[in-house]
């Protein structure tokens, strides 16, 4: 079949069904992998007869998830809200601080070492301090999510602005543009691909921050639910909560990726766009 196609000197049109098949394959494959993992998991648990409180089988996890669907959804909603609020603060602060640090060598040199030092502090160690300041509850979780998420955004925006090609800056400076105009017309657009790439890292980090804080100091949220579940040896429930968290993580990631594609299409010159007018 393949050989005859080559011999026939297939016109480009006839390749289309093949490409379409490949494209739909690309959409199916992730699901195949995920389902495959669950199947292998289930088989391993059953064959080796692993105790449920060590590693519950996926079937047990889903059953438990369905049984406890109401508390799971309530707590998931709490975690999602906390994460999104912390993430939004991180976006605002990261963007503004990134612009400030990226556009001035003076600010960069003065603040960058302090920021690196700050970022090396494990955020879980900060949670007890936040509890002393704000008490147990949602606020320490929001702040922890913010603290973890803002650094990658800041660094990316700063790098994007600081690495603007001097030639591009000269184009504007030669027109008598002010410093702010250079940042607005060249620095910011140039930094946007970096910014949106960092959002995908930051949203995952924000979930980590929220759940860590909820585990240590909260009475609501997925982190708290998992803590309670494992203390009562409800291991399938803890796993069900984990699954829900990763589903939320994937969802937020996809939203960030979609926004990225929409906003910075120019930086991802797709293979499907044929360059026009060569020569």
């Amino acid at each position: 079949m393949v050989t005859t196609d080559i011999l026939d000197e297939t016109p480009p049109r006839r390749r289309k069904p093949y490409l379409l098949r490949r494209k739909s394959l690309r959409h199916i494959l992730p699901w195949v992998v995920i389902i495959g993992i669950f199947v292998v998991w289930e088989v391993v648990v059953r064959v080796f007869d692993i105790e449920q409180f060590v590693l519950p089988a996926p079937s047990a996890i889903f059953a438990s998830g369905w049984q406890w669907r109401e508390p799971i959804l309530i707590n998931a909603w709490q975690t999602l809200l906390t994460t999104v609020i912390g993430f939004l603060f991180a976006v605002i602060v990261g963007l503004l601080a990134g612009i400030a640090i990226g556009s001035s060598t003076l600010v960069y040199d003065s603040f960058y070492p302090a920021l690196i030092g700050f970022n090396s502090i494990p955020k879980v160690a900060v949670v007890p301090i936040l509890v002393i300041w704000f008490g147990v509850g949602t606020i320490p979780a929001i702040i922890t999510a913010f603290l973890i998420a803002f650094f990658p955004i800041l660094v990316n925006v700063a790098v994007g602005i600081a690495t603007v090609e001097p030639e591009l800056q000269d184009v504007l400076r030669a027109l008598g543009a002010s410093r702010w105009q250079v940042i607005r017309k060249v620095g910011l657009p140039r930094a946007m691909p970096y910014f949106f790439a960092s959002l995908k890292v930051a949203i995952a980090a924000a979930f980590v921050g929220t759940i860590v804080a909820e585990t240590v100091a909260a009475n609501k949220g997925i982190g708290n639910l998992m803590l309670v579940a494992s203390s009562r040896f409800e291991v399938p429930l803890a796993f069900a909560a984990l699954l829900v968290t990763s589903v939320m993580g994937i969802g937020m990631y996809l939203i960030c990726a979609a926004v990225e594609r929409r906003m910075t299409g120019w930086a991802m010159r797709g293979a499907d766009t044929v360059p026009a007018g060569q020569g």
Binding site: E165, E167, V171, R173, A174, L175, G176, A177, A276, G277
Partner: protein, 263 residues
């Protein structure tokens, strides 16, 4: 009337005396509406001269006077095109050409009100250099020559009275280059801005310029000057006429001499 007056300008890169001396007592005058080409061996400070004249770099010693005023910061009456097209990759060709209008007064404050007129102007300019139909293409969708044309349009959109061209055609193949010479000549004849063109292509200098200045090897200064008395508009064949060939030859010898004294 002198439009650009560079008076014994020296420029040293770096702050101490060990820094590279790029220009040494360079002096030149360019008349209003004149087309001047600056040629010289590579690394002789031609690009530095451009940056000094447009105010991107302050001279270490000496003064630059443009349009009767001393240059102390970047000039907004100047349009610049560089060896690389330096188009902003997130803007279409049309949006790139319109960039100066968003910055230079008085266009900046009029832009919103007279958007349609400015848009038409940008489209006309692109059409003039043969980019009709490519207005909405992004730079990476255009060939090198097309990007360079768009870059020329960007240098011209705000009707600068001074046009600074820093080897704008150096990275192009010869045929595209010659085509753009003609486009540039048309643009110049239509508007008559003062042009300073830095180049290392002697045919280009003789074809385009009213006057050719030769720079010495670093530290650069002007060592020779030739007036090109060919009628306008010139055609490409004129570059092969004995007059032009002799002139190119003579300029070439000046540059060889400058190079040998440097080593």
């Amino acid at each position: 009337m002198t439009f650009v007056d560079v008076d014994r300008v020296s420029l040293r890169y770096g702050e101490d005396a060990d820094g590279t001396l790029a220009l040494h007592k360079a002096t030149l005058q360019v008349g209003n509406g004149e087309f001047v080409a600056v040629v010289g061996p590579s690394g002789c400070g031609k690009s530095t001269l451009m940056k000094v004249v447009t105010g991107l770099w302050p001279p270490t010693v000496g003064a630059v006077i443009v349009s009767g005023r001393e240059v102390i910061g970047p000039l907004s009456i100047a349009g610049m095109a560089f060896q690389n097209p330096t188009l902003l990759p997130w803007r279409t060709a049309l949006a790139n050409v319109m960039l100066p209008l968003e910055i230079v007064q008085p266009h900046c404050s009029r832009l919103r009100r007279e958007w349609a007129a400015y848009l038409a102007k940008a489209r006309d300019l692109l059409a003039l250099v043969g980019l009709k139909g490519f207005e909405d293409h992004f730079p990476w969708q255009l060939s090198g020559g097309m990007q360079q044309r768009a870059s020329l349009c960007r240098a011209l959109i705000h009707d600068p009275s001074l046009l600074m061209l820093d080897e704008p055609f150096a990275s192009l193949d010869m045929f595209t280059r010659e085509e753009l010479w003609l486009a540039l000549q048309d643009l110049w004849l239509a508007r008559k801005p003062t042009v300073i063109l830095v180049t290392h292509d002697l045919r280009e200098a003789v074809f385009l310029a009213d006057r050719v200045l030769v720079m010495s090897a670093r530290p650069g200064r002007i060592i020779a000057e030739r007036v090109v008395s060919l009628p306008r508009p010139r055609n490409l064949d004129s570059t092969y006429e004995p007059y032009s060939v002799a002139l190119v030859h003579e300029l070439r010898e000046h540059i060889s001499a400058a190079r040998s004294t440097a080593t």
